[in-house]
Amino acid sequence: MMDAWVSLLPGAVNGDREFACAARFFSADILLESGTRQWLVRIRDGRVAALLDAPRFDTPWDFALRAPEDVWERFTRALPPPLFTDIWAMRMRVPEFHWEGNTMLAVRHARAVARMTELLRVSREQCVGSR
């Protein structure tokens, strides 16, 4: 489920005007984790330069966003339920959601990071539409 959404994320992010505006000075390697699945989203100068599926343990990353799949499922609904509306809400109220690593870098570019995660809703929608 999440596999398909994440595979469409680079296109959704690179085609998004708000992300382009918010991420102009943003480069980072972000580990995205859903249950036992992991991806590394490589952002360079405000664009997704690469998406690594199941990165090896020795692939370094700057910060990680981790949650069980059911948390991402609620977060990525077109109309998310209360507490699952954005990553700040989940950081405060959803204990299974973890935000770790160089959080200073993540918070410096918090709007870009939040927007990237919001775009998972767009890629999920695209998956539904293409079925």
Binding site: L79, P82, W88, A89, R93, A110, A114
Partner: protein, 290 residues
């Protein structure tokens, strides 16, 4: 070229004595009748009430007044503010509100505040019921944890950007995007450290439970309205506050987040209008008008 449209809301400055200091306060007002005094959220300013101030159905029955706290919006900071981090304290906040009521000659207003404003109105209802005619708490809580976020005052971070993005996510997803962005824009204009310094007023945790039992809703009616999507002040925290205040009216507003009066005013007015209608006779009797 189309003629300019003047809004009914008018902004002014006033110099008011606050705890031994002359404070220059900016406020906006519209309408006539008993006063509805509005208190903005942490790190924001009175522009959050601009839709209420321009709602002629409300201002036909009320003189609506909204002011910027010192350090916020167009009000000046107080004291030697460059020598210490800004920290709002409950007793000081309370003194400022009472000084504005007295200084502007507002009589006994109904006082309506959101978030930190929603907390101080409960404190005023508990300790100064003789100075106000009613309290409307928007996103008010009895007990809340988890709200402190030191990134909001970390100089290694663009705090304007962070406050804007952070408050964007505090709105309900159903709220129209233009209004959510408007609120975020106001937040981006706050001075560094003020949002975090306001949040410090809530303490960690915020615990008003002992005070709430003092509120006498016969002397000072209390209504609490909280958005279903507020993750900062959770609906259950408002219900808890309501349960501790005998006679308080509690409304949980579907499809609304932490900033009802700015993120979705048309929806918010469906809930606040009946509250104001119910409070008006009590307020008018105390204000000395019909």
């Amino acid at each position: 070229m189309a003629a300019a449209e003047l809004e009914q809301a008018v902004g002014r400055y006033a110099s008011i004595d606050v705890a031994g200091e002359r404070a220059r306060i900016y406020f906006e007002e519209a309408g006539s009748g008993p006063v509805l005094l509005c208190l903005h959220t942490a790190g924001a300013d009175s522009r959050q009430f601009r839709y209420l101030l321009n709602d002629s159905e409300i201002t036909r029955a009320w003189r609506v007044v909204a002011f910027d706290l010192p350090f916020h919006g167009r009000s000046q900071p107080l004291g030697t503010w460059w020598e210490s981090p800004y920290r709002l304290q409950a007793a000081h906040y309370e003194r400022i509100v009472l000084a504005v009521i007295e200084g502007l000659g507002l009589g006994r207003p109904v006082i309506m505040g959101c978030s930190m404003g929603g907390q101080i109105v409960l404190r005023l209802a508990a300790h100064h019921a003789d100075r106000i005619a009613g309290a409307i708490g928007i996103e008010s809580a009895a007990y809340v944890t988890g709200r402190i976020n030191e990134y909001l005052e970390n100089p290694g971070i663009d705090r304007c950007e962070l406050a804007a993005g952070y408050t964007l996510g505090l709105c309900a997803p159903q709220s129209p995007e233009i209004y959510r962005r408007e609120n975020a824009w106001y937040y981006a204009q706050g001075a560094p450290g003020v949002y975090a310094g306001d949040l410090a007023f809530y303490g960690e945790p915020w615990d008003a439970r002992a005070e709430l039992a003092r509120v006498d809703t016969r002397a000072c009616p209390v209504a609490l309205l909280t958005g279903e999507y507020d993750y900062s002040c959770l609906p259950e925290a408002t219900r808890e506050a309501g349960a501790l205040i005998p006679g308080a009216q509690v409304t949980i507003m579907p499809e609304i987040g932490h900033f009802p009066m700015i993120e979705h005013y048309q929806r918010f007015r469906e809930y606040v209008s009946p509250v104001l209608r119910d409070m008006r006779p009590h307020a008018a009797a105390r204000y000395g008008v019909e």
